[in-house]
Symmetry: C2
Subunit: 321 residues, 2 copies
């Protein structure tokens, strides 16, 4: 199933989110408006705002609250990408020049800050304090997850829990918030709010595990970066962690990290991991997370939105190749 089909229950509403995002750029200072438009130009297919809208379909589907919230979710994601691109010194995102490359790092940091602030303003629009607090907490989780990754670079003494805590912060928290906020703003009963929050959490984790796996299984040309790039930069993802777990002493990652990535060890480790069963083991873990996401939906009544959410969880794997 294509993503467009999966998102069909909210196909009429997603353009309203795009429109509402466009209004974010309507600011008094023209040069500034261009900056915002550029950042928004590189957005993806809108999975996160779709999640908010679909989570709202089980009870009071109130677009006056859900559209600003879905916009806040997408804008928060955009803001974090602006800072990520600045940190990674990325020239392009989805083929569009990043703010970092056009404006330099200083203006890009400020533009990201502005987008964070604007998303906070949008999240406050429905006037729901629980959502406002959830939003602030998610922003903290995001920054904490990213910071933890940065601070643990070239540290091989990490375990699976460290990894899952990091990706929970940097990815799953936003998916969980997207779903939970939609449930809250449609006045769902607490059991359904928790079900949708858990769904978002597990889909987010699975999404990031698969994304990290692409770093090993993708090819250099499509990805625009070398195979095993994360590991070369000192970042441990699931397959590398499984490798370290299974080779506690004197392994190549330990050797490579101890020399800060100098020498042939990490390249050799990447080749070993790629040729091993660790890739399949990692996919099995992602599969398990997708199943947890799907079974989280159990308390919800059957409707088109539930069907779409079940399909969206499986979609995580379509990005596999």
């Amino acid at each position: 199933m294509k993503l467009e089909e999966i998102l069909s229950p909210v196909q009429n509403e997603l353009p309203l989110v795009t429109e509402s995002l466009g209004q974010v750029a309507d600011v008094d200072f023209p040069q500034f408006a261009d900056v915002i438009r550029q950042a928004l130009g590189a957005r993806g297919k809108g999975v996160r705002p779709a999640l908010t809208l679909m989570a709202g379909k089980f009870n009071d589907y109130n677009l006056e609250h859900l559209i600003p919230m879905a916009t806040a979710v997408e804008l928060l994601h955009t803001a974090s990408l602006v800072h990520d691109d600045t940190i990674d010194k990325s020239p392009l995102r989805r083929g569009i020049p990043t703010l970092y490359s056009t404006l330099g790092d200083n203006a890009a940091i400020m533009a990201g800050d502005y987008l964070f602030a604007k998303s906070a303003e949008l999240a406050a629009m429905p006037g729901n304090l629980r959502v406002v607090r959830l939003f602030a907490k998610t922003l903290m989780d995001l920054a904490k997850g990213e910071l933890e990754e940065t601070l643990s670079v070239f540290n091989w003494q990490q375990n699976r829990e460290d990894y899952f805590r990091r990706i929970d912060g940097k990815t799953a928290a936003l998916f969980a918030m997207a779903a939970e906020s939609g449930a809250i703003l449609s006045n769902s009963p607490e059991e359904e709010i928790q079900a949708l929050k858990n769904y978002g959490h597990y889909v987010g984790l699975a999404f990031q595990v698969v994304d990290d796996l692409l770093d090993f299984t993708g090819d250099e040309e499509t990805m625009g970066k070398p195979v095993g790039n994360d590991l070369l930069l000192g970042v441990l993802t699931l397959p590398s962690l499984l490798y370290v777990e299974q080779n506690p002493d004197g392994n190549l990652i330990k050797k490579g990290f101890e020399s800060n990535g100098e020498g042939p060890d990490l390249k050799q480790a990447i080749a070993e991991i790629k040729g091993s069963s660790l890739i399949d083991e990692s996919f099995a873990i992602a599969r398990n997370l997708v199943e947890k996401a799907q079974s989280s939906l159990q308390p919800l009544p059957d409707n088109d939105s539930k069907k779409a959410l079940l399909g969206l969880a499986d979609f995580v794997f379509i990005r596999k190749k």
Copy 2:
């Protein structure tokens, strides 16, 4: 009068803000706690949180709401300094190594993001939606003011309005929010809320004008940067703008900016400005802003807090030398 004396109406409460800031560092990840403690170590004398507390003294002085809000105000200020230091590549702040210098720019960007998020969470603690929205707006103003400054570097075609809009965003908005939020959270009548907001706005503008003047009147050794540093970096502040206004054609700043600061023109412009009446004219404008701040307080009843606020506005000039 010393600042400590001016702040005496809230001298017992300011340590509670410091304590509450200390708790911000109590996070699960020890390395992260160190990062936060370091950022908080370089804080100033607490004028902004004192403003929130003093603004709360005219009606229901409820510390359960005012302490988290005052903490949010100070933390928002700290977060913006972390990003400023990263942008300016500053090694030290108040003699303490910046996060930028200890951790590098990547981790410093993330740590700033975390502090912004944490301040948003604290601002939501009193459960007042008007304050939450005011907070988000202030965060936007801050980022917009800074970005506007960055984007207008080496552009000599600016006027006084551009300057006041920029410093309103980057400085006065936070002073105004500090005072306004204290007034709102103590259930003040609307007239008093507006009075305190205007007071904060004008004090903030005066504060920044004087701060910018120090760049011309201070000495290189005390400031740790060359006299006229802003202008050398392509940033127009009030005296430079008055100079451009009074010399519309063929002035040294135009020449210097057109060559991006290369050549002797800007150094010469700095010497001309320093020796001219423009410094006194700028101080007169700041004095006028302080008077506006003080007369904004007119609708408020006389009490210790009002007396302190009147004194605090004058304090702006004690930094004059």
